[in-house]
Symmetry: C2
Subunit: 338 residues, 2 copies
């Protein structure tokens, strides 16, 4: 793979306040595909409305974006000079208490679903609960259904035990689309080595987050520190299991981060003195135009061109190609290492 | 309290397929109040529709029933020769993921809510989950809100740890509206001594269930065996903490018990050979006309007239009077023993 023909670039988690400016930056940054969040705490009907919003964007900007549904759409995006947008849910709230809605969401183009988001859900525990008893009765059934349909289980905001059990129960590789190693920056959202190893052993992928709260030194984290952390993670679980899931929330108002944190589950008053706000991005990653700089940073810490291409998107591309088809269309839906 | 003027009679859990026949049986049985289930797995909108159904019944049969909202409505029912119908939810599905719906449901007349029904919920674990980590982050907030409003926490279908934590966290007495001692009939829905003792210490009440799966020998359980079990429970936690919550599901089709068990959370096929059906009621409790016989059975095993009156409804009446007013209207919402 020559420098003139780098691999496909995929960002496996964004939640930008999308505008034509941002869509043009996707193209300027050479981003062939993104996984965009459709819902955090929205119920089914609200999720459908958010999909309607994306459908409108697809209709308005057919020269820039289209709705990605299968792995091959990433290749098509590159060929056509557009960006394929894959839908994902950060919580299981969109399926409410109805397992039948998993298939409905898949039909609407959803390709990722987190089994829980910070809190206990009907399916799994979240990383901010005091304890975690793992996958629930309904969760076990939903994993089977997601495996059958080709919807990826994402455990980015779930607890450790729930994540380990999801890896064990799932017949197909799962993802942690946006998190970093807990050992590097020990916050509850980052993942312990035990989880990272099990994830890779199950054929799964980790997307490195560039959200400041997940970075050592927050927004002051340097590109070199970030890339060295990627290298240590490659040593731990193998470079084939690594990608990017930047968690970019460009141009979102602070009300959005309050929705993420609070949903509708708490009556605790918003702190008027110190409200929750979006943290300041690192200088080397303000938006999609900065992706080439990350590739350079990875090369600078010693990754080979093919490893850089893998981390920047080729690993996710392989994962997408494995993961989004119904189980019957793959080798029996059995777990495969890439 | 003379035999000619017994105490008020309250059945603190029914889910009958209500008809004029059943409403007339309530009167024939001298039942002054029932707590009726409005929802098992219904969401908010579906719950509202079920309330509309009851409102229609209230309009059609004002001579027989009315919507009970405060404890005093039980006394009024007796005076007017009618039955007060109190609303309850067997699951937290009606509040979806929105703590604001607790107040809305209270305004609509809901006076009981179970924090979970068999499975893990957003608030607590259910008795059929493998493990139970207790009350969740959202659950802690909802308990405060229920305490504030005057909505009773019911833990009949919850797990042991969740139930113990709910008792501990709630500032007001809670209820187990329909269950029996696990020691007497060891099924997962019945409650261990540890729970019964903590319930009573917190000022709470246990409603004895007459649903055959909760009875020793099922539908073959005799009235005497049932009443002796009540006596042993009085020895354990005190007669003041006891009432009836018959779990009567008169005239319901078997599809209803399948809804209770399965909701929308499983894709496991219904067992066509051995489908889940309602069990056969014991001969001494086929419906509301049989309540006087239970009072006689309790007297026959040695309960005093005032104890019989307490178990048949006076204990629930005191509990209703304590529990359905906003916290500010009571002595600070502090836990009280009756």
């Amino acid at each position: 793979m020559s420098a003139a023909s780098p691999g496909h670039v995929i960002d496996c988690l964004q939640y930008c306040n999308v505008s034509e400016t941002i869509l043009r930056e996707l193209r300027a940054g050479g981003v062939d595909a993104i996984h965009t969040t459709i819902s955090y705490h929205e119920d089914f009907r609200e999720t459908v409305e958010n999909i309607v919003g994306w459908n409108t964007l697809f209709a308005e900007h057919p020269d820039l974006i289209f709705h990605g549904k299968v792995g091959g759409d990433v290749r098509r995006a590159r060929t056509e000079g557009r960006t394929a947008v894959f839908f994902g849910l950060q919580n299981c709230s969109p399926i409410e208490d109805d397992i039948g809605l998993v298939e409905v969401c898949h039909t609407l183009g959803v390709r990722f679903m987190q089994l829980s988001y910070n809190n206990q859900s009907l399916l799994a525990s979240g990383c901010y609960e005091r304890e975690d008893t793992g996958i629930t009765r309904m969760g076990r059934e939903v994993i089977v259904e997601m495996n059958r349909l080709g919807m990826v289980i994402d455990m980015s905001h779930s607890g450790t035990r729930s994540t380990l059990e999801a890896i064990e129960l799932s017949q197909r590789p799962i993802a942690v689309t946006h998190a970093n190693p807990h050992r590097w920056h020990p916050v509850v959202r980052n993942k312990p080595d035990e989880v990272l190893k099990a994830l890779a052993q199950g054929g799964g992928l980790l997307g490195f987050s560039i959200y400041p709260h997940h970075l050592k030194n927050g927004g002051a984290c340097t590109l070199r520190e970030f890339c060295e952390m990627v290298a240590r993670t490659a040593d731990l679980i193998g470079v084939a299991h690594l990608g990017i899931g930047s968690d970019l929330c460009q141009d979102q108002p602070d009300e959005v981060v309050q929705w993420m944190r609070r949903g509708r589950w708490t009556k605790e008053p918003v702190d008027a003195i110190n409200p929750v706000v979006f943290p300041k991005q690192p200088s080397w990653f303000r938006g999609n135009v900065d992706f080439p700089g990350i590739a350079e940073g990875l090369a600078a810490v010693g990754f080979s061109p093919s490893d850089v291409a893998g981390i920047m998107g080729e690993n996710w591309l392989r994962f997408f190609e494995q993961s989004f088809a119904p189980a019957a269309a793959t080798s029996g839906g059995a777990r495969q290492t890439p």
